[in-house]
Symmetry: C2
Subunit: 273 residues, 2 copies
């Protein structure tokens, strides 16, 4: 998907919501557990209930791998379901991959060729050749970790280097200047829990989309994120996972998820005007 | 596996070789391609040919995921084969995982419970709660990326912070002092291509095992690694992947792999005296 297509979906749907499919077999409603594939049934119901409220889905690989090869089969089936039924959806593999060049090349092949993801999250620690193999697939995206939403993010990402630059700022700068990352092929993860940093981040990468986790269960504020992070073409994909998926554990879980997604979408619509 | 067991295997086998199972369907001998599962057949032959020369195997997840759920099935089958036939083997998932706490917990469950790995490689960029969920499984190990063997490693790992510490040194220090990482549950990835840094690294973490990639195809020197990195209990697991796996592409590939592994083992035996 191109940046223009993504932006036009956002405008049409008045939403920049991404629903994170962190589907945990231990948390899905009891009544699904007897079925042939409870995780897929859950995902399908969530997707059908939320597809008109969001512009992206983000399966978190960890939750599928935890069920071994059967989990990967469920993941492939989920991606296939979205592609067939909601072809305008942007699908992100939340995988946090990154390895030496020849290995990152294999991961890129996995997510962009073997599976049909639009984007994959990548960790920057190993530098250039761990990230660049993901760049250059036409209309596919790298989503590079910059400033994450978790408690531990300060351990290294905030490290001040001797030139006065923090590590996450260096990640933004190097990927922009030296790796061929541009607003048409690279997004960045910036956590909603660190929204006060967004203004500074926008000085370094004004035009790139940001994938923003951390609203909902992690406590970040959508208003703050929009205030500091939005640009002329929205520039934000805001993710919510647990708050939507597990809004209710009864047989009406999908309706509850939809209600929660609509609430977020309606708030987003206000910021898009 | 405990540190003592690992060390006693090293002494008994006079080897600290880890064979990296980076099995690429595009590189395995032609004659295997007609079989039911060429990648598993290749792995099985390599394992049977090298098991007495090495103390560890390290499947690289990227190479299995690239074949989707079938690849994960092949991975599980490979791990099962090693466990059943060579129970003294240390098995490392080269996965470079790391995510927010609840997600890293899922990854730990995958590698230590769903599958039966002894260790998993983890990327430090997201800090404490991305790594600590992997610690605390009895006799299982975190292998934390510190200074990697690839070209891009200098981009961020060498970044000098305002207190005069490089990023990889900070990773070593913080994981040691603040995360409960100790020589019985944590190893570090240090690339053989950066062997000159090993003396300094040993000042920070004298007793931990290091997993050292980069000899063979990547060009690092075993002599240098041993000179600067070995400690009183060996302290090294040195990996070779491509140089062993693809030593020969004919029907005698396994014999060629064995000859290559024996060459490395014999050199190692000299350093262990």
């Amino acid at each position: 998907m191109t940046r223009e297509e993504l932006y036009s979906n956002i405008i049409r749907k008045k939403s920049f919501l991404c629903v994170g499919l962190d589907t945990d077999i231990k948390k899905i409603p009891q009544h699904l557990l007897g079925g042939e594939n409870p995780v897929f049934s859950f995902n399908k119901a969530i997707i059908d209930a939320t597809a008109d409220t969001c512009i992206a889905y983000k399966p978190n690989l960890a939750f599928y791998e935890a069920d071994g090869w059967k989990g990967m089969q469920t993941l492939e089936r989920t991606v296939g379901y979205i592609r067939s039924n909601y072809p305008d959806m942007f699908i992100i593999a939340d995988a946090k991959r990154g390895d030496i060049g020849n290995t990152s090349k294999m991961y890129a092949r996995t997510f962009f060729e073997q599976m049909d993801f639009d984007a994959v999250t990548v960790a920057p620690y190993m530098g250039s050749d761990s990230v660049t193999p993901f760049i250059g697939y036409p209309d596919r995206w790298v989503v590079l970790l910059a400033l994450t939403s978790n408690k531990g993010s300060a351990d290294f990402q905030d490290t001040l280097s001797d030139n006065g630059e923090k590590l996450y700022q260096k990640v933004l700068r190097i990927s922009r200047d030296e790796w061929g990352g541009n607003p048409d092929n690279m997004m960045y993860v910036v956590g909603a829990t660190r929204a006060d940093m967004l203004a500074g981040i926008r000085q370094i990468i004004p035009d790139n989309f940001l994938l923003v986790p951390g609203i909902g269960a992690q406590g970040g504020s959508l208003a703050e994120v929009c205030k500091y992070g939005m640009n002329g073409h929205c520039g934000l994909i805001v993710n919510s996972s647990r708050a939507i998926l597990y809004a209710d554990s009864s047989e009406s879980f999908a309706e509850a998820a939809r209600a929660e997604a609509i609430k977020v979408r309606d708030e987003m619509a206000g910021y898009l005007i």
